[in-house]
Every structure is written in C-alpha cells, then in structure tokens.
C-alpha cells in the first residue's frame, strides 16, 4: 500500500489563529468557522510548512495509507 504524508491537526490544541492557512502553499487548510484548522487531505502534500509555523505546535505530520 502506498503511503502519503499528511498534516493532521490536534483539534483540542488548535487555537484557530490561521497561521497555518496563511503559509500553506497549496491552500489546503481552512479555519472551520473560527474554531479549528481543517486540512484538506486531497490537497495536502505533506510539506510540513504549516507544522513548522503553528505557534501552538498542534499540527503533526502523519503517514497514512492511500
């Protein structure tokens, strides 16, 4: 099975500041009604730019099977 690297948001830690959405080169992150960041798994290429930027360190890079 092929594996893909994805950004995953720990929703209980996310402060919805929008830093991740701002830096995402593929616009794969949106802030859901001002409550939590949501990653579009289809668009995400796992570059980890968002994880590096997140001030709360609430984004982790995971490998998922596709």
């Amino acid at each position: 099975m092929k594996k893909k690297r994805l950004a995953v948001v720990a929703s209980n830690e996310c402060v919805a500041c929008g830093c991740c959405a701002k830096v995402c080169p593929l616009k794969a992150i949106a802030i859901l009604r001002g409550t939590v960041a949501k990653v579009d798994a289809e668009k995400c290429v796992g570059c980890s730019t968002c994880a590096k930027e997140c001030p709360a360190s609430s984004i982790r890079m995971c490998e998922v099977g596709v």
Binding site: V15, C17, K22, I31, G34, T35, P55
Partner: protein
C-alpha cells in the same frame, strides 16, 4: 503570492505603539482592536480578525520569522493548555476592569489624574511627557493611560514569547483570540442545536 492591503496592518500596530510615546490620547484608537474582533466573531466571521487583520500578530511574524528574532522552539505544554488560556483571559479581564474602575474614580472626581503607564500590572512608568492636556474631563486621559498600559503589556509579553518560542506564540494565549474562539465555538454549538431541532433529532 500577491499581498493584500491587510497584510500591511503591522504598520498600524507599530504606528499605534509609537504614537503613545508622543500623545497618550492616541491610545483610544486601540479600542478598534477590542471591538472589531468581537463584532466579527458575533456576526459569524469566527476568528477572521486573527486570521487576517491582526496587525500585532503580523508584527510578531515579521520580527520573529522574517528578521529571525525568534528561537522558533515549541511553546511549553502548560502554556497552550485550556487552563492557562482561560485563566489568563480571566486575569486579563480582572486587571482590565480594575483599570476601568480607576478611570471611573477620576471621572467621579474621587481621585486625580495619574500620568503613569503600568507595565506588566506591576511597574509604574512615568509617562507625563506624552500628556498635553485634554478638551474633555481628565477621566478621558486616565482611560488613555490605562489602556495604553494594557496594550504595552500585551506587546511586551508577546515579544518575550516571540523570542523564547515561535514568532506568533502570543496568539496561543491572546485573551482576544481565546474569547473570539469561545464565541465562535458557542455559535457553532447553537447552530448545530438549531439544525438538530429543525430535523427533529433529540
């Protein structure tokens, strides 16, 4: 990526902090940063203010990220915990209302105008050079001194955490951010509740 007008709001923040050194009455303009996020979150824009228009966050991003003044380390776990964030929000508001009470005392004539700016709720800095009188009552000036203290304190805290941790670490425990997120969560819950009621789900 092409920059939008709101990407330059960090200049407004820088200007605001500088103007307070010349004329304290400019501190009143800081109320924009209090009311706009609240209005936006109450009208369904969630944390739109934090996401786009927060000049302070942009400034920390530029200083810490662009200019490399941040160590870019992870923020400690306790600092991003709900207990700390909500605790800081409550503490911030208690201190804010204490400032409002002091302003009221000057308005009521019970105490005189104190030309000081309180930094980190402790250090009373003389700030008389930035006061050139007022057309209104002295209470108006007292609020300006108090409010500028609040803004300066949050900027200093933000700068310290920017240096120690990631550039926008202030966003994690910013009282306005915590409050607007709470409002957004509340609105989402009530929206879900309404939807459920409409569908007849118990």
């Amino acid at each position: 990526m092409k920059k939008k007008w709101y990407d330059y709001l960090w200049i407004a923040t820088l200007l605001y902090m500088s103007l307070g050194f010349f004329n304290i009455m400019f501190a009143w303009l800081g109320l924009i940063c209090f009311f706009v996020p609240l209005i936006m979150s109450f009208t369904g824009f969630g944390k739109g203010y934090c996401n786009r228009y927060c000049g302070r966050g942009q400034l920390f991003g530029i200083l810490g990220g662009g200019l490399g003044l941040s160590r870019k380390k992870d923020i400690p776990k306790w600092m991003k915990s709900k207990g700390f964030r909500y605790g800081f929000l409550i503490f911030f508001f208690v201190m804010f209302f204490q400032m409002l009470w002091n302003t009221y005392l000057v308005f009521a004539g019970a105490s005189g105008l104190r030309q000081i700016v309180t930094l980190l709720w402790t250090f009373k800095l003389p700030w008389n050079w930035a006061y050139h009188g007022t057309f209104f009552t002295e209470g108006v000036a007292q609020f300006a001194f108090g409010f500028y203290g609040v803004m300066l304190t949050s900027t200093v805290l933000g700068l310290v955490t920017m240096i120690l941790f990631k550039p926008r670490s202030w966003c994690v425990y910013c009282p306005m951010g915590t409050m607007t997120q709470l409002i957004a969560k509340g609105k989402m819950k009530s929206h879900k509740g309404c939807k459920r009621r409409k569908l007849g789900v118990s």
